[in-house]
Amino acid sequence: MKLTDAIRLSDEVVTREVGGEVMLLDLASGTYFGLNAVGGRFWQLLEDGKSPAEAREALLTEYDVSAEVLDADLEALLQELSANGLVQAG
């Protein structure tokens, strides 16, 4: 899964912000996932209806991070979210 792909978030995921970080609960599996600050913000942008590419652009303006590092981190995160069924292509 790439940043340029269209994705859908699983309807089974519940999100809570605690102490400025984000925890995801997958109701389907009963599994929990912790996201760091950037990952949590990425997820919030996706929840707001942004595409991964749009979310990436927003993060580039919000954080002092190079595009290369951000792209690598977000693609790895997308892969992990996809592998755990939290996002799907489409």
Partner: protein, 286 residues
């Protein structure tokens, strides 16, 4: 909730007609406990120890012990495992922790079995600070804080802890797993009234040579509490979500720290003093 022990004592566990929907495993991967949905509720199977049939609608738990399992062991399973799960299923918030009262507030010690929760609570009690629980703490939100309720007025201690801490106290009965239940006494006072929760300490494995505290991020606290709280049916999505909400709020509002210390009975007094001093630090804990 009414608790009954079946007359069918001494039997072996029969195959359950329903597949399990959840399992607890040991660190070695061995299945210790399985959870099954049955027509009127749930069957909780503690492997080679006992079956508990839970009817939430009738508010009855029936236990069928395996051969050779004592009544006290069955009651421990019920009070320390089954009942907290039922309370969690019914909307309560029960965490796997021991708890003691210091300065009219409660500090809790969270950790897996074998990390010293009971021993630490017993050491506090022996030092004059009453204990509320040695294994599970029921918390109730109350206007931005949490009230911790007293649990059982006894400890379940490893025999070496009992020997080191109780020194002459009369054990109720020897049990499996080399543990002994010791009742509260003048020497081991029990806190009978609920008190507000001041802080939670998450116990490390005992690798540290000194008593060490580290503040924990709320996200890390939530991750720990997920593993150390009780909920019967993790497949009940409505209940799972509200449980998650409750733990997230607790994580965000209660000061929490990792705590590790040398597991040396001769140094427990110093450990207690360090924890008390830490819990009084107003720069860390309001």
């Amino acid at each position: 909730m009414r608790f009954e022990i079946s007359d069918l004592l001494g039997g072996d566990q029969q195959s359950c007609p329903e597949p399990d929907f959840a399992r607890w495993r040991s660190v070695d991967g061995e299945v210790l406990t399985t959870f099954h949905r049955i027509p009127d509720g749930y069957l909780i199977r503690f492997k080679e120890r006992a079956d508990f049939t839970v009817s939430l609608s009738r508010q009855v738990v029936t236990c069928r012990p395996d051969a050779g399992v004592s009544r006290l062991a069955v009651e421990d399973l019920y009070l320390n495992q089954v009942l907290p799960m039922i309370q969690g299923q019914e909307g309560g918030l029960v965490i796997h922790a021991s708890a003691v009262a210091v300065d009219e507030a409660v500090i809790g010690f969270v950790g897996p079995t074998g990390h010293g929760k009971s021993t630490l609570a017993a050491a506090f009690a022996r030092a004059g600070m009453p204990f509320l629980s040695d294994d599970g703490v029921h918390l109730t939100p109350d206007d931005g804080r949490y009230i911790a309720a007293p649990n059982r007025p006894s400890f379940r201690l490893w025999q070496d802890s009992e020997a080191a801490l109780v020194s002459g106290g009369a054990p109720l009965e020897d049990e499996e797993e080399q543990k002994t239940r010791v009742a509260a006494s003048d020497a081991l006072p029990f806190q009978q009234q609920p008190l507000p929760l001041r802080a939670l300490y998450f116990l490390g494995p005992g690798d540290s040579l000194e008593t060490r505290f580290e503040p924990l991020r709320a996200q890390a606290v939530l991750a720990e509490l997920i593993n150390h709280s009780f909920l019967l049916d993790v497949g009940d999505k409505t209940r799972l979500q509200s449980h998650f909400d409750a733990l997230a709020k607790l994580s965000a509002s209660v000061p929490a720290f990792s705590l590790d210390y040398p597991r040396d009975y001769d140094r427990l007094g110093d450990v207690i003093s360090a924890i008390v001093e830490h819990s009084r630090r107003r720069d860390l804990i309001q």
